[in-house]
Symmetry: C2
Subunit: 352 residues, 2 copies
Amino acid sequence: MKPSLQARGTLSDVAKAVGVSSATVSNAFNRPDQLSNQLRNKILGVARKLNYSGPNPAARMLSTGFANVIGVVYGEPIHFAFQDPADSAFVGGVAEACGKRGLGLLLLGGGPQSASMIRTAAVDGFIAYSIPKDDVALQAVADRGLPTVIVDQPVLPGIPNVGIDDRKSAKICAKHLRDLGHRHFGIVSLLLHNDGYRGLFDRVRMAGSPHLVASLRLQGYLEALKPSSDFSITLWECPLNNEEEGRIACENLLRIKPRPTAILAMSDRLAVGTMEAARLSRYLIPKDLSVVGFDDISVAKWLTPPLTTMQQVSEDKGRVAVELLGRRKEPIHKKLPTRLLIRGSTAPLKAR
Amino acid sequence: MKPSLQARGTLSDVAKAVGVSSATVSNAFNRPDQLSNQLRNKILGVARKLNYSGPNPAARMLSTGFANVIGVVYGEPIHFAFQDPADSAFVGGVAEACGKRGLGLLLLGGGPQSASMIRTAAVDGFIAYSIPKDDVALQAVADRGLPTVIVDQPVLPGIPNVGIDDRKSAKICAKHLRDLGHRHFGIVSLLLHNDGYRGLFDRVRMAGSPHLVASLRLQGYLEALKPSSDFSITLWECPLNNEEEGRIACENLLRIKPRPTAILAMSDRLAVGTMEAARLSRYLIPKDLSVVGFDDISVAKWLTPPLTTMQQVSEDKGRVAVELLGRRKEPIHKKLPTRLLIRGSTAPLKAR
DNA sequence: TTGTACGCGTTATCAT
DNA sequence: ATGATAACGCGTACAA
C-alpha cells in the first residue's frame, strides 16, 4: 500500500546487505567524511545494485524536521501567475533565490481548495504573494505558524513584507500626464472586488476593496489629479488582468464626454489592450491619446510606440522575499524602488 | 532541534488533552464520517487552542507513502522558465492540472545541484521538461524510479512523452517562405551545444547536438529548403533564447551576401529581436525582410507588424503531461497539434 | 463509535 | 570509524 513514493529497498536493507549498521549507510549518503572512502564506495555500490536511490525524503523530513522547500502562495488560480509576465517574473525571482540555496519551490495556488493544500504542504516557510486581505488562504498560512513573508499585500503586523510604494508610484504616473497638459483622464483599474463586476465604479467601491495594491494605486492616481477643478476622471474596473479587458475598458472610456486624452492603466497588460482599442478606433498614440502602464513587462518596449510605464523589478521582489525568509529577526518591511520609464506612448496634449 | 517544520504540539498531544485516542484525532482531521460531529468539533476546538494546525506533513507522507506533489524538472536554471512566455505557459498548464487534482507542484531547476535536489524531492512523480539528452538531471530522475513523463525531449524508450512534431512544424514554416518566392534564408537557431558559442555553424555541429528540439526544427527547415539549388541558407546559433540574441543574430545575418530576404527564427523571442534588428538597420518588415517565429507567445500578435509564427499550445503540453502521469499504463507518446499563423511579418518576395 | 499497537525509513546521540 | 537504539508523528488494521 505504499505504491508511490519509494517502491524499493530501504536504508536498512542496504545496511543488512553490506553488513554494516543503518547509521553507517546514512552517513555514506549524508556525511562522506564520517567513514572510509572504501566502505562508502562499497555501500554506494550495493545500494545501486539494490535499486536504492537514497534516503526516503519523507522519512528524512520527519527525522530532521526540515523539508528544504519553501511554499509560494499565490492569490489567484495559480495558472494566472504564468500568464502575467510580472507575476511570473516574481516567481522566477523566488525560484532563482531558492535554487541558489538548494531549496525547492512548492507552488500553491488560490481558489477553494488552496487552504487544505496549504495546511498539508511540506515546507519550511511561506511566501504569500498578492493575496486579498480577506482570503482564507491567508488564515491557513498563519495557522501553520511557519516563517512567512508577505509580498505586496496585505501588510500585516508582525509579518515581514516586501513591496513597492504603490501609492507614490501611481501618483508619479498621473503627475507625468498632468504635467503634459492633460485634463481628461481614464483610469483602467485592476480588480477591486471578487464579484465579477466590469465597468465604471465610484470611490465607495474603491474604498471597500480588499485588494490593497489596486486601492493604493488608485489613491495615488487620484491624489495627483485632485488639485485642479477642470479635470474629469473616469474610473473603469477590469475583473481580469489581461489585454482583452484593457481593450474593453478603453473602448468604453473613449466614448465618455469629454473624451479622455490620457489613460492610466494599472498594469502593462491592460495598457496593451488599451493601445489596441485606440488603434481599432483610429486614435493615434500618443497624438490623440497618451497611455501609461504599470510594471514594465518586457513587451512594453517592443510595442509601437513603446509604452511609457512604471517600472518595478518583480524578480527582485521574489529574491528579497526569500532572503527575508532566511532571516529570523524581527519583522522587516522592505520597499523596493520603482521608476517611471518615459517612452513613446505619452506626449503633451496637442494644442487645440 | 526540530525548529522548522512544526514547532507545536502533535496529534497525540491533542488526543491526550481531549481524552481520546490519537486515532480518533486523526480521523477528526482525515475522515470526518468516522466519528460524531460533536466529538469532532470538540477535537478541532482543542486542536486550535493548542495551536495544532493539522497532521505533520512529513509524518503523514511517511505513513501514507504519498506526497501529493509532483515535481517539474526544467532543463535550465529555473528562473529562465519564467522569462520565456512559452516555457512559463507550460508550467502554467502543469500548475492548472495539478490544482484541479489537489496536487502540489514542486519546481526543480537545472544546473549543478539540481541532481541532488531531484534525489531528495518529496514527490510522487516527475515531469521532465526540455532536458538535453546528456543532462545528469535525467539520470537522477530515472534513478528515483518514480512515474515520469518527459516533455519535448528526449524521447526515451519506456517513458511517456508529450511533444509536437518539431520537424514537420519547422518544415511548414520554411515552406511558407519558399512559397512566397524567397531564395535566400537566414536561420536563427536555439542553443545546440552548451559551450556558450554564438555565431555561424554548420551541419556537423547540428548533427551532434543533444538538444533534440533544436535539431529537429533545423532538420525541418532544411528539408523544405533543400530541393532547389539557387538557394542560400545561413545558420546562426544563439546561446540564449532571448530578444537580444535574436537581434545580434539578425544583424549578422543581414550582412551576409546575398542578403537573406527571409529569416526563420526558432522561437518568438528570437523573432522579436530579429525584427528589432531589422528596424534598427532600416529594413522594413515584411517588404524587405520576412520573418517567421515559433511558439506564438502572446506578444507575437501585438507586434508591428504582427508576427507570422508556428503556434504551439504550451499550456496543453503541461496539462497533458499531468494527465499522462496519472495513467499508469504503458508508455504513450503524444504529439500535440501545431498550426502556422500567417500574420503581417511575411510577404512575397518583391519583384526586382 | 472509539481505542490499541505496530510500522513507515530516517537521523542523531551516545557508546565502542 | 562504526554500531545500537531511541525518537520523529502519523495512519491503519484490528479489536472492542
